[in-house]
């Protein structure tokens, strides 16, 4: 049964009732990210999601749109959401394409496509939930896992340097890059609001808590404890500029990394066909 009353939470109109209650674990941050996205869409004036197509790969974050959003969704193979999204975007400039993915999906198996999509300045928005581990598959080390963290595949602590994904995407040429955490929900929502209408590739990294799989490995098995950790360790990008690398170890740099006006791939393709560039 679909209830649409004024008393309901604003997000209900964007959600598939049959997908509720969500299967996300207690204390998971993905609900916060879904909430921020829907709030951003709502504030941008989208009364429903019919103009959107959501593409996702494999992992918990892929489940934010599919099955939760009442929208067209394409749930693809692991790491390949961006490739399917690109094919769709090229032939349907009328649609807004948004990719949801986790750090494992987008920066391990799918990293090449993330790099190439940023380089192409492909016209779509990526929301990357970074929980610093493979949560859904049992807590294996990810390219984003901080040094020293014990995971199921690094029982003596991770010995690999983690990837700074937002800095990488910025270096590859995206139009918009921002990183916030689920503690910074209002800022996260504002970043998504800026990302969605942006021409070119817009990337929002949401550092998020996975208390069940990651948190318990660092002694914080409650969502709230992890949010406190984010609050205490987040450094605004403006402040980080004047800090030494050693001081920034274990910190989460938050804020806008890139916000520029730059022609996206669609405009570049139109121009290459000899069509007049429209400003």
């Amino acid at each position: 049964m679909i209830l649409l009353s004024e008393d309901l939470h604003f997000a209900r109109r964007y959600l598939r009732e049959e997908a509720l209650p969500s299967t996300f674990c207690a204390g998971c941050g993905l609900g916060t990210i879904a909430n921020c996205f829907l709030k951003a869409a709502n504030e941008l004036g989208y009364n429903d999601l019919r103009q959107f197509v959501f593409c996702s790969g494999i992992g918990c974050s892929a489940w934010i749109p599919s099955p939760h959003f009442r929208a067209d969704t394409i749930h693809t193979t692991h790491g390949r959401s961006l490739t399917v999204a690109l094919g769709l975007r090229l032939v349907r400039p009328d649609l807004k394409v948004v990719v949801f993915g986790g750090d494992g999906d987008l920066t391990a198996i799918g990293l090449n496509h993330l790099v190439q999509s940023s380089r192409r300045n492909l016209d779509l928005t990526v929301i990357m939930a970074n929980n610093m581990i493979y949560g859904q598959t049992g807590g294996q080390v990810a390219p984003t896992t901080p040094l020293g963290v014990k995971t199921s595949t690094t029982p003596f602590g991770s010995y690999e340097y983690p990837l700074d994904v937002s800095r990488l995407v910025a270096a590859c040429g995206a139009s918009y890059v921002a990183r916030w955490t689920t503690y910074h929900a209002p800022q996260l929502k504002e970043a998504i609001k800026k990302a969605l209408p942006k021409e070119g590739f817009s990337f929002v990294e949401a550092v998020t808590q996975c208390p069940s799989i990651f948190g318990r490995r660092i002694g914080k098995d409650e969502g709230v404890e992890m949010l406190q950790w984010f609050r205490e360790n987040a450094i605004p990008i403006s402040k980080a500029k004047d800090m030494q690398e050693q001081e920034l170890a274990d910190k989460i740099i938050v804020g806008e990394f890139v916000n520029v006006e730059k022609p996206g791939l669609l405009r570049k393709i139109r121009a290459s066909k000899g069509e007049r560039e429209v400003d």
Binding site: T83, G87, L88, L90
Partner: protein, 331 residues
């Protein structure tokens, strides 16, 4: 492509190409990609996604020597079984094998039509020799095309004997759920139900199996009671034509079945041939992949004679095949 209103993009790898083809198809256009053996291997996971999500698309595989890098740019016919079983799980596939430039044209059109009709990826299984040929072709003034049909109400996906005759469009408020996970006919994921999974996977198979005779296409010559039959496809069939003329001079008549459809396998035609002849010679540029399939379907597998040649991209000569025909008459 832009000149005819199309879009082309060179992706970073074949995994990405296959993904983009799937995305474009869901965008409502006809889409294709082309590769050779190694790239075809990379595409296999997303070909499975296209099968599972019932996404029409065409993949051209120009067969070359493998495994691995093998002998790059050299001809082979070793992707018969990769085409059939390259992606994991139970599934059917449609694969067409051209043997001329003209058929590269006609079978590409046919591949698109079949992909729309059955909502499935179709493989155009060419080989290096056919794909590097230069021949005159006739382009007909009008080409019969199967266009995308939109369906606006579920069922959107196959289940059991029911397969939708069309595809739900995106961007029209239908909230279409497309997923590579097991799903019901409305597209809603059902990853624990054995019943929904069985119905989906059987449905994906039935829609092709039930139309096997309609889909399969072949050229049959000399189909009368004979001592020997030959089954061929792709570049090898061109040498068979000449070999048949060579042995005809010695009074040997050959029943020749040249397959344009490799998958689904033309079982009926192969069995009809087996009823007519004592022996079936199968020349192919691999170690016997098609022979294996013929042996599977004919009543007496000992009458199937594999004739294999691999490496260097060196095709069969008509004389080699003629001598194999002559040499296997009395065994």
């Amino acid at each position: 492509m832009p000149a005819v209103g199309g879009t082309f993009i060179q992706m970073e790898d074949e995994i990405a190409s296959m993904g983009a083809v799937i995305g474009a198809s869901w965008g409502g256009v006809k889409s294709m990609t082309a590769t050779s053996g190694p790239g075809f291997s990379l595409m296999q996971e997303n070909i499975g996604l296209a099968i599972m999500t019932e996404t029409p698309c065409v993949v051209v595989d120009v067969q070359r020597v493998g495994p691995s890098t093998g002998q790059a740019t050299k001809c082979a016919q070793g992707d018969i079984m990769q085409t059939r079983w390259g992606t994991h799980g139970d599934h059917e596939i449609i694969a067409l094998a051209p043997n001329s430039v003209q058929e590269m044209f006609t079978l590409t059109v046919k591949a698109f039509n079949l992909s729309e009709e059955y909502r499935t990826p179709v493989i155009l299984l060419s080989d290096e020799i056919v794909s590097h040929l230069r021949e005159r072709i006739d382009v007909p003034g009008e080409v019969e095309l199967v266009d995308r049909k939109e369906i606006l109400h579920p069922p959107f996906f196959s289940s059991g004997n029911e397969s939708p005759k069309g595809m739900p469009p995106l961007g029209k408020g239908l909230a279409v759920s497309v997923t590579g996970s097991t799903h019901d006919s409305a597209g809603i994921r059902a990853t624990t139900s054995p019943e929904i999974h069985r119905k989906l996977v059987e449905g994906l198979a039935y829609k092709i199996q039930l139309d096997r005779d309609k889909i399969t296409d072949f050229e049959a010559t000399g189909m009368e009671e004979n001592n020997i039959g030959v089954i061929s496809f792709g570049c090898t069939s061109r040498a068979v034509y000449d070999a048949i003329e060579l042995v005809a001079a010695k009074g040997i008549r050959v029943a020749h079945l040249r397959l344009r459809t490799i998958w689904p396998f033309p079982e009926k035609a192969v069995c009809q041939l087996a009823d007519l002849v004592h022996r079936i010679l199968i020349p192919e540029m691999n170690l016997g992949q098609l022979s294996l399939e013929v042996q599977r379907v004919v009543p007496d597998r000992t009458r199937v004679i594999p004739f294999n040649k691999i490496g260097g991209g060196i095709a069969f000569t008509p004389a080699e095949i003629a001598s194999a025909i002559a040499g296997n008459l009395e065994k």
